[in-house]
Assembly symmetry: C2
Amino acid sequence: MAQAKKLVEAITPMEEDFSRWYTDVVKKAELIEYSSVKGCMILRPNGYAIWENVQKELDRMFKETGVENVYMPMFIPESLLQKEKDHVEGFAPEVAWVTQGGLEPLAERLCVRPTSETLFCDFYSNIIQSYRDLPKLYNQWCSVVRWEKTTRPFLRSTEFLWQEGHTAHATAEDAEERTIQMLDIYAEFCEKFLAIPMVKGKKTDKEKFAGAESTYTIEALMHDGKALQSGTSHNFGDGFAKAFDIQYTDKENKLQYVHQTSWGLSTRIIGAIIMVHGDDSGLVLPPMIAPVQVMVVPIAQHKEGVLEAAAKIKAGLAGVRVALDDSDKSPGWKFSEQEIRGIPLRIEIGPKDMEAGQAVIVRRDTREKITVSLDSIAAKTLEVMETMQNEMLERARKHRDEHTFSAVTYEEFKDTIANRPGFVKAMWCGEETCELKIKEDTTATSRCMPFEEENISDTCVCCGKPAKTMVYWGKAY
Amino acid sequence: MAQAKKLVEAITPMEEDFSRWYTDVVKKAELIEYSSVKGCMILRPNGYAIWENVQKELDRMFKETGVENVYMPMFIPESLLQKEKDHVEGFAPEVAWVTQGGLEPLAERLCVRPTSETLFCDFYSNIIQSYRDLPKLYNQWCSVVRWEKTTRPFLRSTEFLWQEGHTAHATAEDAEERTIQMLDIYAEFCEKFLAIPMVKGKKTDKEKFAGAESTYTIEALMHDGKALQSGTSHNFGDGFAKAFDIQYTDKENKLQYVHQTSWGLSTRIIGAIIMVHGDDSGLVLPPMIAPVQVMVVPIAQHKEGVLEAAAKIKAGLAGVRVALDDSDKSPGWKFSEQEIRGIPLRIEIGPKDMEAGQAVIVRRDTREKITVSLDSIAAKTLEVMETMQNEMLERARKHRDEHTFSAVTYEEFKDTIANRPGFVKAMWCGEETCELKIKEDTTATSRCMPFEEENISDTCVCCGKPAKTMVYWGKAY
Ligand SMILES: [Zn+2]
Ligand SMILES: [Zn+2]
């Protein structure tokens, strides 16, 4: 137990220092290891396996809507990146440049993709001719690079993994519909699999993607009351199509520009899982996304029959991602490891349990202990996992709602941002000057103009002029 | 039919120009599109879906042996690449260099990974302390970059997709065992899923991987008689461990160097599928790897009930990757498309078939037409796919064996290489001078020293000195 205690003590309590708590969990759960490459992280098996599960479910949801996967080059010639003015202005300051290939300097430098709109546009201009070629619904899973000054595991790193979908449509309506459809898929995925409730909304012009006509976002609230942008979906209109000359002949044989979208979700989402569900003992993974859902831990495993009984439990859990810790560590040490790694359920079985024909299921989130007879353990395990998944979502929703405030006056607004971590709902006139002032005064930014609008007052919380819309504001990662 | 004919005519016949046939198939089957980035290709949905199936099966086979997936940075600092002498000499001439990040020049340049041994070694030196930490069995799926002067779709491109496994073991025996185990997995995968028989063997010192103690390979024979190295597995001994100081304390509390392996298989394997199985009508995919296994094509689909009958066939093929071509193209056009894309089976159904309560299954490889009653179509489809898969493997094996020759004298050897495309088995003294002479005289290279040795003669085919081993020689991609 001394050793077990040491493992746990290594995690800084959340209340003491949330930021250190976060990096402790990331390290101790062996999700990430820092590399010798500045700003780049190594995704270790425990971390990568979460991403594999995210990929598996999202990929299936994408394909159900007709999306197909492709792979585009990781390099973008400088001239290609420059074709869309807003886009290059947004990304050029933060890209990595390849200037030498083999033993020779390159005639034109190549950037390592920060995102692939320009490559997809170049591709689409070659393969789209007729309305029969539309829509194109392509996606890729890859890594992208953005040269960041300060980095944090999962939240901000020079290289990160993501998927980027890029679609081309015949009409503006089709593009807008696809933009919203993919945002809905992200929100549904996060709620169902990650137990994270999302606020869906539209970004202000200031916060939208470089080159987009409009950007939609899903925003989550972390345990410390800060917001995390968790996925975005952009409608490009025909701006990129005009810059890259992507035209098709319609049914009346007239040339038309396509309308495009893109949408992305990255390993950042793993940061959200950690900061929404984690506690002072480590990670807490929602059962539906956990690489290992159940860890069977034998107690007094040197006693006759214990290991066999534990193995039998494991074998009986068909369809469950289950592992058995039969190492020579102490049970206390094994408990700590299972807790740090966030494995949703632990099943303990020892000589006394065997005598009574039972085992003990322990929930990671509530630590509730449930004694179960051995012949009903498979059904009970599934039931407890389902309950845990649902309760984790409800707990996160309750936390989010309890940390969502409204403000009518600017004094109220500043006071709330300063003293009550969370979202602040407040009205806005639509002017960037107010967004800038709010950011300067409070460090909070506009998170989104939510789909579910409310009329909190008639005037902008900042300038007092007539309000155009309600905005979710907050400090953000 | 005029249009259908046009589609087919676009493929250059194999006998006329194998190389043009290959690129025609790649383009017409829509596997790849050239990009604006020199030497980089776009993997289109039809091509990427094959890779997804390769990934799915191989990844499962890896994990069954205890392998875990990780993700390492795509950049390698120059100083890290230089730590192992042979390795940097092998790769430095063909890497891409990043010299600028954001708006500033980098203090140390970074290469885009051509392979990740150095990164894994750096990682292992941080996380391996004790014999309890061994073995480490890590793999990653990613893209790598090698600056190539001449490129060909799938076979050689500046960027390509692959998996690279990197393992660390306590003993030399464990490392050697893992090296062979992974080679066996590659060979088994290629035979079972891709219907491609492999020659397994060891590379000569000249042909081995930069920094390896020994390299093992699987070699396939393409339809034109050229060899294709299809996957490699390397035993590094403790060379990298010494260069990167990867040590562990053993059970006797003594410091020991680890022994390492690496093994990789890339999108190059798609080139092998094309060149082993394809014909003058296009691609021919083995059913087990085909993204779409069956295309249902309605005949006279405007006639009452035809589309419904076709849809019913599709719905009845549970567990089969099946699509229905209900577009307004002619049946001939649809046939051509299905053939070019290499979809293993076509099921035709028209008014006459419906009257007779039957449909027609057409095999892509043999074009055999099989009339089947509608109530047995699901079972028959599975049966025909299995037969086709087996016969494709046997046909490829027969072709390989019929194009594998022996040579005892150098005249015989040169004559065979010049006039009979295929493998040539011949004895070798073990000296690199003979390998170099053979390459200069014939352009053939040593493919491998096969696990299944034969004693063809007692003297080296080139210099006449005593022979040490038999070698498979051949011209290669
Ligand atoms: Zn205002
Ligand atoms: Zn010789």
